[in-house]
C-alpha cells in the first residue's frame, strides 16, 4: 500500500472541505442577497435564480478543478 498516497488523499479531502465551506460562505453572504435581475418584473424571480445558480455552478467547477489539479500533480508525478 502506498502510505504517502493515503496521506496525500487525506490532505486533499481536508483542503477541499475548507474550500467548500468558503464557497458556501461566498454564496450565502455575497451572492444570495444580491438582486441580479429585478424580481418584480415578469419572470424576474426565475432569471435571478438562474443567474445565481450559474454563479454557484462556476464556483463548483472551480472547486472540482482545484481538486483535479491537486490529485493530478501528485499522482502523475509519482506514478508516471
Amino acid at each position: 500500500m502506498n502510505t504517502r498516497a493515503v496521506g496525500y488523499e487525506l490532505v486533499v479531502f481536508v483542503t477541499q472541505w475548507g474550500l467548500m465551506l468558503v464557497g458556501f460562505g461566498i454564496l450565502t453572504k455575497l451572492i444570495a442577497p444580491l438582486n441580479l435581475v429585478n424580481p418584480s418584473s415578469s419572470l424576474g424571480l426565475y432569471f435571478d435564480a438562474a443567474a445565481k445558480a450559474l454563479i454557484a455552478l462556476i464556483l463548483s467547477v472551480t472547486w472540482l478543478f482545484v481538486w483535479d489539479r491537486q490529485v493530478r500533480i501528485y499522482f502523475r508525478r509519482r506514478g508516471k
Binding site: 500500500m1 502506498n2 493515503v6 458556501f24 454564496l27 450565502t28 435564480a49 481538486w67 483535479d68 509519482r78
Partner: protein, 339 residues
C-alpha cells in the same frame, strides 16, 4: 426528554434492520445462486462465482422498516413514503440494469426520475417533505424556492451513481456507506434533528451491516446495481429529508473523487465492464497493482496502488479509513451548521 425518548424508539426499531437484512441477504444468496444470477470475482486468482444482485436485501429491509416505523413511531408518513418510493425506484432501475445491461448513459438519466417522489410529494405537502432553505455551516442559510426543488432530482441521481461507481472490491461500498450513515446518524443526534431522519440513518446503517457480513472479504454476495443504486439514492434522499445536504456531500468525498476522475478520463457515462483500459491488474501473488495504462481512469483504488501493490483486504481497509476521515469532516460540518 420527549425527544430523547423518540430517538431511542427510532434507534431501537432500526436495530431490527440488522437481523432482517442478514436473513434476507442469506436468502437472496441461495435463491440467486440457484437461479444462475452470478458474477465472477475478478480480483481473486481462482475467479470464484458469487451470487449477484444480493444487495436487493438492503432496499427491501429499508422499505419494510420504514413502514413499521410509520405505524409504530408515530412519525408523519408522507416523508417516509417519499423516501421509500425513491429507494424502490432506484432499486428497480438497478434491477433492470442488472438483467438487461443498459448503456452507461441510461443510469444517470433514469435515476434523475427517482427523485421525483420527493419533489412531487414535497410540492403537494409543503413543508412536510423538505424545506427550500439550505443551511450553510458558519454562515447561516438562504432560501432557494426555485433552485432547491430542482436540485432534489440531481442530488438523488448523483449520489446513486457515485455510490454505484465505488464498489470494485469486496465490502468497499457496503462498509464505506455504513460509515457514512453511522457518522451522519451521530451528527444528527448531536444537533438534535427530528427522530425520523435519525431512524432512517440508523436503519440504513444496520441494513448495510447485515449485508456487509456476507459482502466483506472474501465476499460471498455481490450487491449488484440493484443494491448500489438504491443505497446511493437513499443517501441522496436522506440528505434532503434530514437537512444534511452539505454534510452528506462531505461524507461521500471518496465517491466524488472516484467518479470525477473516472469521468474526466473517460469523458462519457460508461460501464466499468465496457472499459478496454483497466485501472488495476491482478498479480500472480494475488495482490492488486496499478495497471500503468495511461488511458485507464485514475480511480481511487488506482491512486492508492501507484508504485506499491497491495492485497484486496488492505485496499478496502484503507478505503474505509478514507470514509472515516470524510465522515468525521461531515460530522464537524453538521455541528458547524447546527440546524
Amino acid at each position: 426528554m420527549a425527544s430523547l425518548g423518540a430517538n431511542t424508539i427510532a434507534i431501537l426499531i432500526a436495530l431490527g434492520s440488522f437481523p432482517v437484512s442478514l436473513a434476507l441477504t442469506r436468502f437472496f444468496m441461495y435463491w440467486n445462486l440457484k437461479h444462475g444470477i452470478i458474477g465472477i470475482d475478478i480480483h481473486k486468482l481462482n475467479r470464484p462465482k458469487i451470487p449477484e444482485m444480493v444487495g436487493v436485501a438492503v432496499p427491501t429491509t429499508i422499505v419494510l422498516f420504514a413502514a413499521i416505523y410509520a405505524m409504530v413511531g408515530g412519525s408523519s408518513s408522507i416523508p417516509l413514503l417519499a423516501y421509500c418510493l425513491v429507494v424502490g425506484l432506484a432499486a428497480l432501475v438497478g434491477a433492470v440494469d442488472d438483467r438487461l445491461r443498459l448503456r452507461g448513459i441510461f443510469k444517470p438519466l433514469l435515476t434523475l426520475l427517482c427523485g421525483l417522489p420527493v419533489l412531487i410529494l414535497g410540492l403537494a405537502f409543503r413543508g412536510q417533505v423538505y424545506t427550500s432553505t439550505l443551511h450553510v455551516p458558519l454562515f447561516g442559510g438562504y432560501h432557494l424556492p426555485v433552485i432547491y426543488p430542482l436540485t432534489v432530482l440531481v442530488a438523488v441521481s448523483v449520489t446513486s451513481n457515485t455510490v454505484n461507481m465505488l464498489d470494485p472490491l469486496n465490502g468497499s461500498m457496503a462498509g464505506g456507506i455504513s460509515i457514512v450513515a453511522g457518522g451522519l446518524l451521530i451528527g444528527s443526534l448531536l444537533i438534535g434533528t427530528g427522530s425520523m431522519s435519525i431512524f432512517l440513518y440508523a436503519s440504513l446503517m444496520f441494513s448495510l451491516l447485515g449485508f456487509l457480513y456476507y459482502n466483506r472479504f472474501p465476499a460471498r454476495a455481490f450487491a449488484g446495481n440493484v443494491g448500489q443504486l438504491s443505497i446511493g439514492a437513499s443517501i441522496g434522499a436522506l440528505a434532503i429529508l434530514g437537512k444534511t445536504e452539505i454534510a452528506s456531500i462531505v461524507a461521500i468525498f471518496p465517491n466524488i473523487q472516484n467518479s470525477f476522475f473516472f469521468l474526466s478520463r473517460i469523458r462519457r457515462f460508461t460501464e466499468h465492464r465496457e472499459l478496454t483500459s483497466k485501472p488495476t491488474k491482478l498479480l500472480p501473488d494475488g495482490k492488486l497493482a496499478d495497471s500503468e495504462d495511461p488511458r485507464a481512469p485514475l480511480t481511487l483504488v488506482r491512486t492508492l496502488l501507484i508504485g506499491r501493490p497491495a492485497t484486496e483486504n488492505e485496499i478496502v481497509s484503507t478505503i474505509w479509513m478514507l470514509f472515516l476521515t470524510s465522515t468525521s469532516l461531515a460530522v464537524i460540518t453538521l455541528l458547524l451548521t447546527g440546524v
